[in-house]
């Protein structure tokens, strides 16, 4: 079947849907492979045309190659999904918008209430979130690094969510009835925090898929 293809046709079928990086790498190696086969075959007495046909035929069916290549290299759609994970697209934008609101209310709370009453864990998370966002947004940082950072980020967020939840439950038990004239944004902060926590948690449902993609992206 494959002997009806020229090298260019073979390469086009064999690299369909793969990322440009994978296409460049495959093209380079397969072309070199075919050139070497051509050299050997023409030295052995075959004509240039016959040797070229044989060299392409020896590569096998390009569809079979593509099937295997899709398991090894990232496809365009997988690459897009990975970029969505690492960059603030769709759900990521919502995530950062919620963090933005969260920041405002935490600062309002900080403004109206004194430091000792302010939950230190919430403040830690605030610092952590603000410090980490530039890393996630920057395209200058490699996708590998952002990927690793994102995994760590989600993990720390989840742990902090649990800690803050527990801390607030304890605090609520101690100060079950509290009369305060100053505005307290605790409920807003708490709700936003829960939503952010749920988003972090949702990430773990997709983690096996992304892990597979991340492994492929290492090539």
């Amino acid at each position: 079947m494959s002997n009806i293809f020229t090298l260019e046709q073979w390469l086009q079928i064999a690299t369909k849907d793969l990322t440009p990086e994978a296409v460049v790498s495959i093209r380079k190696e397969i072309t070199d492979h075919v050139k070497t086969t051509l050299e050997y075959q023409t030295n052995a007495g075959l004509s240039q045309v016959e040797a070229e046909k044989l060299a392409v035929r020896l590569l096998g069916d390009p569809m079979v190659f593509l099937q295997r290549a899709r398991k090894t290299y990232l496809t365009k759609s997988e690459d897009k999904r990975l970029k969505q994970l690492y960059s603030p697209l769709k759900i990521g934008k919502l995530y950062y918008f919620l963090f933005f609101l969260y920041n405002i209310f935490v600062f309002l709370n900080l403004w109206h209430n004194s430091f000792p009453r302010f939950n230190p864990y919430t403040f830690n998370l605030l610092c952590y979130a603000n410090l980490s966002i530039p890393y996630l947004l920057s395209d200058k940082i490699s996708i590998k690094f952002r990927g690793k950072f994102w995994l760590l980020y989600q993990f720390v967020s989840l742990i902090l969510t649990i800690i803050i939840l527990l801390a607030n439950i304890i605090r609520t038990n101690i100060e079950s009835i509290r009369i305060d004239e100053k505005p307290d944004y605790f409920l807003v902060i708490f709700t936003l925090f829960i939503i952010i926590g749920i988003l972090s948690f949702m990430f773990y449902f997709y983690y096996p898929i992304f892990r597979k993609l991340f492994m492929k992206a290492k090539i």
Binding site: K28, D32, T36, L59, G60, V64, F65, R68, A69, Y73
Partner: protein
């Protein structure tokens, strides 16, 4: 009459590792060596070698570097320490497997 077809796909990574245990090599040479050493029995499609090689590289079993040869850039692969350990394991596994099959086919209990 049935014709049994040997499935090379699963064994290809081990064959690549074994070929690279003789020294660094490029794709064409690896394919030729496998065919030559098996006396043509293991005749596989050469294109499939590259996804297998790149998977081995991703898993850290082989490493690669580019060399310029006759004005052409060529990628050479070599076995890593992890790859050498894996090859030892694969050899032992294959010996166990082939002994078991051999035992059955010879009719031994």
């Amino acid at each position: 009459m049935y014709k049994f077809v040997m499935n090379l796909k699963g064994s290809l990574p081990a064959l690549i590792l074994q070929t690279l245990s003789f020294g660094s090599s490029h794709g064409y040479e690896i394919a030729s060596r496998i065919k030559r050493q098996s006396e043509g029995v293991l005749d596989f499609k050469e294109g499939t070698l590259y996804p297998a090689l790149h998977t081995l590289e991703r898993d850290g079993l082989v490493s690669s570097h580019e060399e310029i040869e006759n004005g052409r850039t060529r990628r050479y692969y070599k076995l890593t320490e992890k790859g050498t350990k894996m090859l030892v394991k694969e050899r032992a596994e294959w010996t166990r497997y082939s002994n078991a099959i051999g035992g059955i086919l010879k009719g031994a209990s």
